[in-house]
Structures are given as C-alpha cells and as structure tokens.
Symmetry: C2
Subunit: 145 residues, 2 copies
DNA sequence: TTTTTATATTATACTAATTATAAAGTAAGA
DNA sequence: TCTTACTTTATAATTAGTATAATATAAAAA
C-alpha cells in the first residue's frame, strides 16, 4: 500500500527532470514508510548507517526538490525544525504541545474557506494550512499522576 | 478603540506578577497600534529611536512574557522570523507568498473541527491554527506586466 | 558500451533567528 | 526610603537552514 504510494512518487519524479540517486531513493522511502512526520535531522540520522558520508545539506536539498515536485510537504514551526510529510489525500494534523507527537486527522478540505477568503480579500488563493493543538492521551495521563 | 484594547492588556498584566517597564509599555503599544503583524526585529527597529540602549533580547523576552500572559500571539514561519499579533476576537490570516503581506480574515471559529478532533484522536484540544496562502492583488498585477 | 555533460553530493563555511548568561539597573512592596 | 526580586543590557552561544566550490555520478548521446 505504502509501496504503491512510493512507486507513484518515483514515477512522478521520473516525469520531471529530477535524477534518481541512492540518497534520494532512501530519503523518499523513509518518508513514505514513516508515520512520524520526521525532521530533516531525523531523516539524516536514520540514513547515516547506510550512507556514512551523506551530508545534511543533501537531505535539505532533496526535500526541497521533492517539495517543488509536489510529492512532499513541509510543516514549519518557528524556530523549531520543520517536519516533512508525504503528500496524500487531504488530512490535517493534531499536535501534542507536551511531547510533540503528530497525529493525522482526516477531515473534508475547507474549500469554502478558501473561496470566501478570495472574495473578501481579493487574493488569488492556492492553499491553506490548519493544525490543531492539544495534549495527547499519554501526556494527559502523566499530568494526572 | 485600540487604546481600549491596550488598556485591557495592561490591566491583564497587572493582575499577574508581571512588572510594567517603559520598554514593555512601548512594545505593547506598538503591537496594539500596528496593523502589520510585525517581527521581533520590526519592533526593535521601531523603538530604537526612543530606547537607544534597548537589546533585541528584551524584545524577545517580553514577547514571550506577553504570550504566556495570553495577550500576544506568535505566528511561526519555519526558518523565517516569527510575526506577532495582539490577541483579539477570532480571525485568521491570509498571507501573500510573494511579498509576505498578511491580511486579517474574519471567519467564524472552527469549533466543530476541534470537537471532532478530540473525539477521533483522544487528545484534549485547546486551540487551532489556520492560514490561507495565495497572491495579493498587488503582486497579481505585477505578474501580468 | 563508452563517452559526455549536466546535475548531485560532499565538506565546509556562513547566515540569521533566537536563547543563555551574568552583571548592572530598576519597579514596587515593606 | 530601603530592599529585593525581577528586568534590562551586552555579549556569547546555539541551531536550523543555505551557499559555495570541488568531486562524483546518473542518464542521454555517440
């Protein structure tokens, strides 16, 4: 299933002018198999066993390439590291303020918000971002003890 | 009107253990009068005439204090500088990807999204963030010429 | 298959936002 | 007014991410 999504992503890249390299394949594979929305550094650490000479810059460069190709999404968090997500059908994220855990949350896209914003502001709207903040079940328990 | 909101904020601070200083007053005043969602550096530059010895750290420290007191909100943008907003009634932001302009966008709070997320994920939800991305009218024009 | 060449990777240095630290200053309660 | 805990300042440190230039390599052409 996730194999299939990875293959789709690889095909999408092939249709652009983006070359496939072992590093790129490994980064994509890790991202598509991971359910954890990793940071660039997470990816770097996860792959340094297989690619002892890989540079962090390579991870950042390739994540940017993937973003431009539309197969990876960046989630930014101020001073903290960005997290990366494979692009899938519409879902949002619920984030734990205590432990940083990110959980996918399926919800119909808020298209009407985009349309309304266009009318009210005169902008040409192309996307939106929504995130929900709270405390995950595990961290809730901890507070109680 | 904005005088009134500023006064409310000052009152809110008085009820906590937060001391009032000239720097703090000036930062708050600037933030409440500004319609531009300034960065910490914007604030620093705007006030350095009146406070030639003020340190950037003071701006950051106090913005954090205000955030903790719940009268100021931070909008984070990955590697780029955060922007700060006085906390007001529910509104969202429409952001121009070309020039960075931020426009307020009034919309009924998405309370039902929060409720649903609580049920589905088991989180205790306390807030959410939504932003709309696009191109502002001015930048749209530029592209056409 | 070999050659070619544009693109990718690496190592390193750099930038910019933000935070930490410690000394000096000051708001506000006793 | 005195005192003290909190603030400010100046400076250094930290950290995410980007730029650069030399080396390596994927993939198209011969």
């Amino acid at each position: 299933m996730s194999d299939h999504r990875l293959q789709d992503a690889l095909d999408a890249l092939k249709s652009t002018r983006v070359r496939m390299t072992p590093q790129r394949h490994a980064i994509l594979e890790f991202l598509y198999e991971s359910m954890t929305h990793p940071t660039a550094d997470d990816i770097y650490k996860a792959l340094e066993g297989r690619f002892p000479n890989m540079s962090v810059a390579t991870v950042y460069n390739n994540l940017r390439v993937f973003k431009e190709a539309g197969i990876v999404k960046e989630l930014t968090y101020g001073d903290a590291s960005s997290r990366f997500d494979s692009v899938t059908s519409d879902h949002y994220h619920v984030i734990c303020g205590d432990c940083g855990k990110i959980v996918d949350f399926h919800y119909p896209g808020l298209d009407e918000v985009e349309t309304l914003a266009e009318h009210v502001t005169g902008f040409k709207v192309h996307s939106h971002r929504m995130e929900i903040y709270g405390t995950c079940p595990k961290c809730k328990e901890k507070v109680e003890h």
